[in-house]
Amino acid sequence: MSYTTTEVGSAVVVELDRPAPIVTATRMSPQVFRRRFSKEEKDAIYAAAMTQPLVRCYLDDVAVAEYIDVADAYTIQGLNDLEAAGLIAPGRAAEIAAP
């Protein structure tokens, strides 16, 4: 194990020299994730959920999630499905999934 020793005033700080790589934050609360959709998009998605069980399921999954990870394959697939169904405009899936 390699440690870094730093003297700060009269204090001595000895710290394990294994900094974790900083990753781009891709997780957010469901509330923050939902705010990435426009009012028009929400209107279209909720209207579709009245008749399309998979859209309703997607909304429920978001609602009960502890957090949303926009880099997660399930999240990306869901956004792509919304885009393919015409509920969000082409290109919006990538915009919404941006970190």
Binding site: M1, V8, G9, S10, A11, V12, V13, V14, E15, L16, R18, P19, A20, I22, V23, A25, R27, M28, S29, P30, Q31, V32, E66, Y67
Partner: protein, 152 residues
């Protein structure tokens, strides 16, 4: 960012919180730089043997301390915090098979709202943070922490 409370003149000799009894199922923890935390990997860990992450001789304040997993292998994680020579927190988690899950010794974090709070714990002569896990592996757990050192 708010504070849970000011812990008073200290030094703290015992931290009792939602995880201190041990065996609690790990929760989702922040991914630095969230909550302005520093994250240090464990290096090589022999299961059940603590690795020292931080050892300060001097005065300062610990604001947040936690241990979390870095991959999705079934394990428990443990955190020990020694303030001025007294073990104030020493707890192991319950099992988890998820990444980024762990337990918090100082501070708090809500994954549902992505918000957290610092819990200032002063130390007047020394501070030591140690972590371990149930498996023998390298860099599969990490410590999350924030501290300040006082001039004298």
């Amino acid at each position: 960012m708010g504070l849970i409370y000011d812990s008073g003149p200290g030094p703290t000799t015992s931290i009792v919180n939602g995880f201190s009894a041990g065996g609690v199922t790990p929760v989702v923890l922040p991914a630095p730089p969230e909550l302005n935390l520093k994250e240090t990997l464990s290096g090589a860990v022999t299961g059940g043997t603590f690795v020292t992450i931080l050892n300060i001789t001097g005065r300062g304040q610990l604001n947040f301390a936690a241990v979390k997993t870095k991959d999705a292998t079934l394990r428990t994680v443990s955190l020990k915090i020694t303030i001025d020579g007294t073990v104030a927190f020493n707890a192991a988690s319950g099992n988890t098979a998820n990444s980024d899950r762990g337990i918090v010794g100082v501070g708090c974090w809500s994954s549902s709202t992505s918000t957290g709070h610092f819990q200032p714990e002063p130390f007047y002569s020394s501070l030591k943070l140690e972590i371990t896990q149930s498996l023998s592996e390298t860099d599969k757990i990490s410590a999350l922490y924030n501290y300040v050192v006082w001039a004298s």
